[in-house]
């Protein structure tokens, strides 16, 4: 099935125009395409028919029974190859030219055509089936005031149809009315744009009042709108009804492909039907992807054509000369054929004759065989159990069968973050309550702690919730007031909606998964949020139901980075609960929290170091008066017409002061299983991974660290955050300069060290490492790879500063660039600069990018690097990227199927990518290359014999072989062994190729099949043909049978040569085959057997007696093969052909073994020693797993607040208004999506308001240089298992580099005098006099504490910018001794 799926894509461009043509035909001369606006009148079919809009019948199939044969044949003959063979066939019908019987061409051609035809027919059959199914769906159409069931295909534009819950929308509808209040209805658009959350649609208010069908039946409004287009998110039109105009937008539309959810029923007016719907308009138009091997193959085939023509010309010239010198004299025995009257004409004919017999150098079976092999590989991908995800019951799927070998050549991976690298699941991991930290014990030696079981304690607990620290539960049980307060806050302060399907079965609908995790945590610890109304929140606290009245929600937004609720508890006390980013919240605490804040800050740092997202929690008791006065001012602000937002913010700010700290939470943004390991393995395979995400920079960097893309032993991480062309350019330049400078300044020791071990490491390449536990090869090897990147980028128009220097940089760099900067960087004049900088980096993270930018980045690499790109993603926003990359991979099962539909491969988890690339891709590439090499070889060996024979037969285009042999050689005698090799061959087992990612490199460098390899094959083929012709020629010319009959007759010669050929190519395939399965044996021996069987049969008397004129070779096989001389000849020819190849290959393996040879060899030795082979791998993976488990605590990092990331504002209002209460969960999604696009505005606003610098967490100014030990790379942990054999340079590097890094970043990003840099460690005292220092330096201190995490740079940069923009006033504060006072002063400022 998988195979079939890509077909509609390919054919859609054909199909749609066809349909249009048909309709055009029906419509007479009215031009449909020119439709400028669409007028639709409800309930008026006659009126609408005037316009002859498309009906709702869709047709994606291409053929019907009658048209199949002609249309399919027509299509097939559009392929150049097929036409070529047809042309040859026609040539063969001319007797003067025909050097071969007609069947030698028609049999293979027919075979190829029929295979393709069968495939097309099956595809089309399934399309018919699905078309019928869709077209015959029932829908209820309002006709003459009553609802009637109609098939979908009979629905017309202008009809009013009724939809019920969970039904598919049959066409693009204008929503008229629904069963829900306000004419709302809810749809799921997963089919359309891949977003699984529900969206709300609302009808125009006048129509929503129409209500029931009687009124609707008399509705006669007219809609004037835009013509059909493919913009899913836009619709503009006008409804004219009762002399009034109503504007229609996308909010009023229900598009085909959506599903109606949570709405009992609704009525809609059909605006676009069938092929005009947005769904169908969006179908297809995919570029047909070709692999580089495809393109190479096409080039080579063209070359071969050229070669063929050359040979034809040479032989034709030979023919002319011969006919003139010899042939004309020989005419008494052999007169010229009637139309031939001179040697020139004869030569002309001879040219075509030779084109016919030499055509086998371009074998017709090539393309079919390639397809078959790819199909086989695709099935292997589909069948792979190790790419099956049992949780989601999804197997990997090769949706395109034509790209497999390209998987073995990938050099750049562009990955989405959410849902691809991460699971998009947040889990409540740790918390700090009143200075006490709870959560996982990170002692790796301790046995795995038991997961807490909440059910006995709390029947309402969520069984999926995991927590491992029972002290927290104890604390709750003993009634610790802080703990209770803490969880009470979590249960109250949020915008989650709950749904209680049955008693105790709570489902939370949270707009951000962070929030969901927190509320669920509170639920499990006994503070269960049950339900809410606009004015109340009902919870169950320790089994006791409590109802709070909700006084206000001070909602979240990106500037505030916090949210609060004000509630009145049953006792009447008013309290404000606030949770928010620590940076924001800690500033607003009551001074008496000083001590607790210090402790909590320490905890927060620990959490951040573990890569967790943190939130701080606080509360404030409010007196009735305070509340009253504030609520008054709040109301004022709320009602304000201008600057409402600002005034509201000010009002919120006013009350969120002097809060009491409760604690902090830490949430883990769960990576998908195996992501760090996969990334480590892939980068060892020299694949560059770029993360392109719409997320915020902090999140992206955070994830970059946790999945080991960014590591602490990286030399430097560059942040490009400029907002103007100039600044971006400058930042890029500076990054490049740094890259070139840094290694130079570090000089000497390291470089030599590198070079020294370079040779050894590269040769041994992990092979030795196996015994040595693989050393810490990762770092060193990657450095070694730097000097040999594939192709240097083509020279840029405005020559960017030394590109070639960049090729030689050592050291690992990473680049983080955000959306605005990327927009500038992608402009034509800067893209080369961006490219050269980015490609010199080991990891690139682009955050805040739009789907279009994702595609642009991919296109950029495609354009300038001759590298294969792969894009992987799961959401609709990745579709453009997936489509523009060479290979698109969709993660199935997370966010709808949009990405999957657009992708070439799909599977459920990111980690399968390593198997897809390193195992399947590598094998596919290897197999395809070996296949092609051998295929060209065997055809040259076969065909070129004719060329040599030409010199001995008067250039008369006489064939050497029997014509049956020529017919069957490619399709029977030699096809199956090479197919078996192409499908089953393995050089090293799958586990090994995962173990030694370096094995992947030949594919990237395109070493196994390129023009050079092609020439080698060709040369070998020609050599073989020389041997095959001249050896029998020399021997047989004098030889006789043992009864004296000479062996030099044509037929004996033909049989001898053919037999020698078949044997030689069989021996050759035996040499080429590295993996002899039963199937290979059967095919190789079977082919040889079939050759002899078929030959003996064809030369048998029986057949001759029936068709004496067709089987000239009667008896030849028998009498020839009985001659010892013949066998001696064959043996000799085989030896001469094979011995040099054998010697050459042996020398290659012996002197310059490829890694795969070595691995193979090791394997063999191990097998011989009967060592258990499986051990290393299984253990290795376990090892990796455990490394990742214990990863927490291995690295320091900056604090990353969880709150700011996934949250969207605007929700509190909705809740308090109560508008959405009935459909709470749906509304959530609605508003989430409505606000999702506004981040740019938010950012802009942020820029102006200059939010808040992070509080200078001076508590962490602990002695800095812990990073040396702290940073002995997480990556090296994992890579040590994965292969590579060095050990040396890492320590050294980590020792020296970070110290310089600090300097670097500070100088480059702030442009403050470098003199400042060295002082950074002692920031607080030093900074006293300096205006900027507080902002700049304190975050640096934070970073230093945690070990050197480049994540810290992010903050640094932002802070710096903010500081530069306008925090001078505050700067004086930095002279005060500690952060609390800073915070305090800050708040006073505000």
């Amino acid at each position: 099935m998988t195979v079939l799926k890509d077909i509609p894509e390919k054919w859609f461009p054909v199909v749609l125009p066809l349909q249009r043509k048909k309709q055009k035909g029906l419509n007479g001369d009215k031009k449909k395409r020119a439709e400028e606006e669409r007028r639709v009148r409800a309930n008026d079919r006659e009126y609408n028919e005037k316009f002859q809009y498309a009906s709702n019948c869709i047709m994606t199939s291409k053929y019907n029974i009658i048209t199949f044969l002609p249309v399919n044949l027509f299509e097939q003959f559009q392929e150049v190859a097929n036409t070529y063979f047809l042309f040859l066939l026609i040539l063969q019908l001319i007797p003067q030219i025909s050097s071969l019987s007609w069947f030698t061409t028609i049999v293979p051609l027919a075979l190829v055509l029929s295979i393709t035809a069968v495939k097309d027919a099956t595809d089309d059959y399934f399309r018919h089936k699905s078309d019928n199914q869709v077209n015959n769906r029932q829908s209820q159409v309002l006709i003459h005031g009553s609802l009637q069931n109609e098939k979908w295909m009979n629905v017309r534009v202008g009809d009013i149809i009724k939809l019920e819950n969970n039904q598919f929308v049959a066409a693009d509808l204008l929503l008229l009315s629904s069963s829900e209040p306000h004419g709302l209805c809810y749809i799921e658009t997963a089919e359309l744009d891949g977003e699984t959350n529900m969206k709300v649609r609302q009808s125009v208010s006048v129509t929503s009042e129409l209500g029931d069908q009687n009124n609707l039946a008399s509705f006669d409004g007219e809609v004037v709108c835009e013509p059909p287009n493919n913009k899913l998110d836009r619709f503009c039109g006008t409804l004219y009804w009762q002399d009034k105009k109503y504007t229609l937008t996308n909010q009023n539309m229900l598009l085909r492909g959506c599903v109606l959810r949570n709405t009992e029923a609704c009525y809609g007016l059909v605006i676009f039907a069938g092929p005009d719907t947005k769904l169908m308009q969006n179908s297809g138009r995919t570029k047909f992807k070709r692999t580089s091997i495809d393109r190479l193959m096409n080039t080579l085939v063209l070359w071969i054509f050229g070669f063929l023509v050359c040979m034809g010309v040479i032989l034709a010239v030979g023919n002319a000369v011969w006919e003139r010198e010899v042939g004309s004299l020989f005419q008494s025995y052999l007169p010229w054929d009637p139309p031939v009257d001179n040697f020139l004409f004869s030569a002309f004919l001879s040219f075509w004759s030779y084109v016919i017999i030499l055509n086998t150098v371009v074998p017709i079976s090539l393309y079919v065989s390639v397809e078959v092999i790819r199909l086989g590989h695709s099935y292997f991908i589909n069948w792979d159990q190790q790419m099956f995800c049992s949780q989601c019951n999804t197997a990997a799927e090769a949706r395109t069968t034509t790209l497999n070998e390209e998987l073995g050549q990938v050099e750049y991976i562009f990955s989405d973050k959410t849902g691809t690298l991460t699971q998009n699941i947040m889990s409540f991991n740790k918390c700090s309550i009143n200075g006490q930290t709870y959560g996982e014990v990170t002692d790796p030696l301790a046995p795995q702690p038991k997961r807490l079981d909440f059910t006995p304690f709390n029947p309402l607990a969520d069984p999926d919730f995991c927590f491992y620290d029972d002290t927290l539960l104890e604390s709750v049980k003993v009634g610790d007031s802080h703990t209770h307060q803490f969880f009470r806050l979590l249960s109250l302060c949020h915008t989650v909606m709950s749904e209680e399907k049955s008693e105790g079965e709570l489902v939370y609908k949270a707009q951000s998964p962070d929030e969901g995790a927190l509320v669920t945590a509170a639920r499990n610890f006994g503070f269960v949020f049950r339900s809410r109304t606009p004015g109340t929140i009902t919870t169950t606290e320790m089994g006791r139901p409590v109802t709070y009245s909700l006084l206000a929600i001070l909602d979240f937004n990106n500037i505030r980075k916090r949210m609060s609720v004000i509630v009145r508890n049953p006792e009447g006390r008013i309290r404000l609960y606030c949770k928010g980013a620590d940076t924001v919240l800690l500033e607003r605490l009551h001074p008496c929290n000083q001590e607790l804040m210090n402790i909590t800050s320490d905890h927060l740092n620990e959490y951040a170091a573990d890569g967790l997202r943190t939130l701080a929690l606080a509360y404030r008791d409010l007196s009735e008066d305070e509340w009253e006065s504030w609520s008054e001012s709040h109301r004022c602000a709320d009602k304000a017409t201008n600057c409402r937002e600002d005034r509201l913010a000010a009002a919120y700010e006013e009350i969120e002061q002097d809060m009491m700290l409760l604690g902090a939470t830490a949430i883990e943004d769960k990576l998908q299983e195996g992501v760090p390991e996969t990334i480590a393995v892939l980068s060892l395979a020299n694949i560059k991974i770029w993360v392109l995400t719409g997320d915020k920079q902090e999140t992206a960097v955070n994830i970059g660290y946790s999945c080991k893309m960014l590591t602490d032993d990286m030399t430097e991480v560059f942040n490009i955050t400029g907002h103007t062309v100039q600044s971006v350019r400058q930042e890029l330049r500076r990054a490049r300069e740094r890259m070139i400078e840094l290694p130079r300044t570090r000089v000497g020791v390291k470089d030599e060290g590198m070079e020294g071990c370079g040779e050894a490491c590269f040769m041994g390449n992990g092979f030795r490492g196996q015994e040595e536990g693989h050393g810490t090869g990762g770092g060193g090897e990657k450095q070694l790879q730097c000097p040999l990147p594939p192709a240097p980028p083509p020279p840029a128009l405005p020559p960017p500063p030394p590109t070639n220097l960049l090729e030689n940089i050592s050291g690992e760099f990473a680049l983080v660039i955000n959306g605005h900067s990327l927009a500038h960087a992608l402009e034509a004049d800067m893209e080369m600069e961006f490219l050269s900088t980015a490609c010199a980096c080991k990891a690139v993270i682009c955050c805040r990018v739009t789907p279009l930018q994702k595609a642009q980045v991919v296109e950029l690499i495609k354009k300038h690097k001759k590298a294969v790109t792969l894009a992987i993603g799961d959401g609709a926003n990745d579709v453009s990227m997936i489509k523009s990359a060479h290979i698109g991979v969709g993660i199935s099962g997370q966010e709808g199927i949009q990405a999957v539909l657009a992708s070439d491969y799909s599977f459920a988890q990111f980690r399968f990518l390593q198997r897809l690339l390193l195992v399947h891709g590598r094998w596919s590439y290897l197999r395809m290359c070996r296949f092609l090499c051998y295929f060209f070889y065997k055809n040259f060996a076969f065909t070129m014999v004719h060329f040599w024979f030409g010199f001995f037969c008067g250039f008369s285009a006489q064939t050497v072989y029997d014509q049956y042999f020529i017919t069957l050689y490619n399709i029977v005698y030699t096809s199956l062994p090479v197919l078996a090799m192409g499908i089953f061959d393995q050089d090293v087992p799958d586990l090994r190729s995962l173990e030694y990612p370096k094995l992947y490199e030949p594919g990237q460098l395109n070493l196994l099949f390129n023009k050079r390899e092609f020439f080698i094959c060709i040369t070998q083929g020609i050599y073989t043909s020389v041997v095959l012709f001249f050896v029998p020629c020399a021997i047989l010319s004098d030889a006789t049978q043992s009864n004296g009959v000479p062996l030099a007759d044509y037929q004996t010669f033909a049989v001898t040569t053919a037999t020698a050929l078949v044997i030689v190519v069989s021996v050759q395939i035996a040499l080429d085959t590295g993996f002899w399965t039963v199937i290979n044996h059967v095919f190789v021996w079977g082919s040889l057997g079939s050759y002899f069987t078929i030959m003996l049969a064809l030369h048998s008397q029986t057949l001759f007696r029936i068709f004496p004129n067709q089987f000239h070779f009667v008896g030849s096989a028998q009498s020839t093969l009985l001659q010892p001389v013949v066998w001696l000849t064959i043996a000799l020819a085989t030896a001469i052909c094979i011995v040099p190849v054998l010697a050459f290959r042996f020398l290659k393996v012996d002197l310059k073994p490829q890694l795969s040879d070595t691995v193979r060899y090791t394997q063999l030795v191990h097998q011989k020693k009967r060592k258990p082979v499986g051990r290393s791998m299984g253990d290795a993976w376990n090892g990796v797993g455990s490394v990742s488990e214990s990863r927490l605590g291995a690295r320091g990092g900056s604090r990353r607040s969880g709150y700011a990331f996934a949250h969207q504002e605007g929700f509190g209002e909705l809740i308090t208004s109560g508008k959405n209460m009935r459909l709470s969960s749906l509304a959530l999604a609605t508003f989430a999506s409505r606000h999702s696009s506004s981040w740019i505005d938010t950012l802009r606003r942020k820029k102006h308001t200059h939010a808040h610098t992070p509080p200078s967490a001076s508590g962490e100014c602990s002695p800095a240089p812990s990073y040396v030990s702290g940073s002995v790379a997480p990556l090296s942990n994992s890579s040590s298992v994965l292969g590579g054999s060095q050990d040396t340079p890492i320590e050294e590097e980590t020792g020296t580099a970070p110290a310089q890094n600090m300097q670097t970043v500070l100088t480059s990003s702030t442009q403050t005098p470098p003199a400042l840099a060295p002082t950074s460690e002692a920031s607080a005292p030093q900074a006293s006099g300096q205006a900027l220092n507080a902002g700049i330096l304190t975050p640096t201190a934070v970073r230093l504490d945690g070990g050197d995490s480049p994540g810290g740079w992010t903050i640094t940069l932002e802070t710096v910018q903010e500081a530069l923009f306008g925090w001078k006033a505050r700067a004086t504060a930095s002279s005060s001794p500690g952060p609390p006072s800073v915070a305090k002063e800050t708040s006073q400022n505000e």
Binding site: L279, S332, W1076, N1109, L1128, L1142
Partner: protein
Amino acid sequence: MMASSYNAKDEDGHITVTGPGGGTLRSKKPENTAFKQQRLPAWQPILTAGTVLPAFFIIGLIFIPIGIGLYVTSNNIKEFEVDYTGVDMSSPCFNCSQNFSWNSTTPCTCTIPFFLEQPYESNVFMYYGLSNFYQNHRRYVKSRDDSQLNGDMTSLKEPSKECEPYAYHDNKPIAPCGAIANSMFNDTLELFYNDPNGTKVQIPLTNIGIAWWTDKHVKFKNPGAGEANQNLTAVFQGTTKPLNWRRPVYELDAAANNNGFINEDFIVWMRTAALPTFRKLYRIIKSPSNGMMPTMPRGNYTLEVVYNYPVRSFEGRKRMILSTISWMGGKNPFLGIAYITVGSVCFFLGVVLLIIHHKCGNRNNSADISN
């Protein structure tokens, strides 16, 4: 750009996933078979010094003795060749070769004396050899009608088009048709032994057994071969002889089993040669039944040629060859030499590779081998 392959299955699939009825959920886990998981047991040969080098030596060791054997055998075969084209003025056949016409009624005869240095034992095979004669030319090779030669009556009367322009003559079908038959070699060669005592003894030549068995018994049949008392003359009634022939096909030989299409000289000619220089078996000189005397003792011989076949127009040559034969056929020094050469090269290569392997081969490998 979206929903590229819209079809009902996708929609339905989606419903079953999101909808409540998950009962039909069937595990899609692929089968765990060795084939599908690509874990078929397999033999994985590797080119190692341990396998390749012995292979070279073995090939060498096999080929060299075979080559020597072949060479010796070939050297023991006696062969004598005489060119009787008559290119030289001195040649006895010069005159015949000069005044040639297809239509001359009087045969031109020339006599060539020669001397055999060694006695020829056992059966001696007599060949005629032609040079520069393109029997392998495409138009020549196809210019025959195997149905006709197989005795098909229809084809006899209506020769295949392939025979053009030798299919019809004077509106009569030519039997046998085609260029091959038309150009049949028609010199007559006779051998005489000049006894030391002066008498000239004609050596008996057998013309039976010179063609392939399958050709004689399967491929070639006279028309109406099945019928009793067939009269070839009657059968070929209505056909005409090939243009260059002096006699019709049914008069090729007196013996009934060697006449018509199954005449062995004809069959031998019809088996076209692969190369422009070729020889064909002409006659066999059977060894005397007592076996004591050599078949052809050392001495003077005379070859009498009835010179019918013109070759000088296209610079062809005609030869007569006498040869004895061994188990492996006639004299063929090339085969032996080739085997010796290839064998030696293999052996030599083996040695060279061994040296290379020891000097600069991958240490790892050798270390592992020793383990």
